[in-house]
Symmetry: none
Subunit: 220 residues, 2 copies
DNA sequence: GGATTTTATTTGGCATGCCAAATAAAATGT
DNA sequence: ACATTTTATTTGGCATGCCAAATAAAATCC
């Protein structure tokens, strides 16, 4: 098949972009292997190919940096992913918590034109069903200042924007307690011992663990 | 990638279904290789895998037959292909002539549920933009009413679909006068005495005997 | 019937992506 | 500084799908 050639390239670039955005630790072979759940040998091999293709640059300290070309490809893939997610939720009535896997497949469809038409068909949405912004057709991303719920101030109200975790179990949990992008969340109290939070969502009081609070991103 | 495993299987099954529908000549290795534009060695290899997977049956005379399982998979792939074509034309404003390649990609998206939702979203269309019927979710294809050429109306144009006779002499004759599936045929006149027909194919006038006309199946 | 052409099959090879296990290099602990 | 752990890399191997070229078998021609 000529379609779907270099199928994994987009996944590597997306993962690299995600890691570089988090900038928590340096992005090396191991970190990337962990993110993609692949063998380090596999990742090293592929990273060298990506280097040959001028998608990444291997630094002397072994960290992996996206080139401008790689970054753009990553962002266009993220654009495709998020637009397909909007399609699945808005048009096919999927729940926002169940579209990720399908979008993983759909994002690999090769056609700039198709994704631009899809964008228009969906009414040029600014963000996907998880609240993450959709890059424009040139790969430009308008970032919003996101705050982990863990670090918010007591007594204030925030708007849920997106999440720092994609595990199904996490998304299912959010869905169950009705936490989703664009919903308002008021911070009542913080338990200093275990860093858990008491919040109010839809007029219902809710207790969120530190682990959950760390992965919910809000804006003021 | 776990997605898109056995990616080519669906293409082989589709091609086999297409060839078996035409039933012009026996479906063997060479015919399939020609249809898929692949090396016969490649096709033989894959056909054996499909046989292991119980998708096809290899007959003693070397012809390749779809099993019930293979036929169903082929029809469900055709269903996906045609529904995506409807989507591209109806929703994204593509011309019907430019959607085939995109649908070739989209048809490989793995999700029964997705395609059924797409079907509903499109309003359960009966046929694709090319006029070909869309199989239902069980893989059942409502065949277009086939009419023996003998019984058509004068003055109208029909599309050749298949043949009710498999004798080599008959097929050789068809080949000689350029009658093949999908070709347009216009009915000019009928000789009431011997029930023979005067038709136009490729702008050339042709005289067909009753015996021949009985065995050519067309659709409006 | 023997020669030629066509069809069928085998063989060896290639590219993409993946892994496990072995080894080498670097970082970290004591 | 030495030992241990972590990280990086190499090696050999596997599965999917593809090809060209060689060979074997079958069909067709004369």
């Amino acid at each position: 098949m000529s379609h779907f050639a270099h199928l994994s390239e987009e996944n590597y670039l997306k993962a690299l972009f995600k890691l570089s955005s988090k900038q928590v630790k340096k992005v090396n072979n191991i970190a990337l292997a962990k993110e993609l759940d692949l063998n380090p040998a596999t990742v090293l091999e592929m990273v060298r190919k990506l280097s040959d293709r001028k998608m990444v640059q291997l630094m002397p300290d072994k960290t992996i940096h996206l080139t401008e070309k790689g970054r753009k490809k990553a962002l266009l893939t993220i654009r495709k992913h998020r637009l397909w997610e909007v399609f699945l939720v808005d048009k096919l009535n999927y729940q926002w918590s169940e579209v990720h896997e399908l979008a993983e497949q759909l994002e690999h469809i090769e056609s700039e034109d198709l994704v631009n038409r899809l964008d228009a068909f969906l009414g040029f949405p600014a963000s996907d069903p998880h609240g993450d912004p959709i890059p424009d057709k040139n790969g430009k991303l308008t970032q919003v200042q996101l705050i982990p719920l863990k670090e918010v101030e007591l007594g204030k109200t925030y708007i849920v924007q997106s999440f720092a975790e994609t595990a199904d179990s996490f998304l299912d949990y959010l869905s169950k307690v009705d936490i989703r992008p664009a919903i308002k969340i008021k911070i009542l109290d913080r338990n200093e011992y275990d860093q858990s939070l008491i919040v109010v969502i839809n007029k219902k009081q809710l207790h969120l663990s530190e682990k959950v609070a760390k992965n919910i991103l809000v804006k003021p």
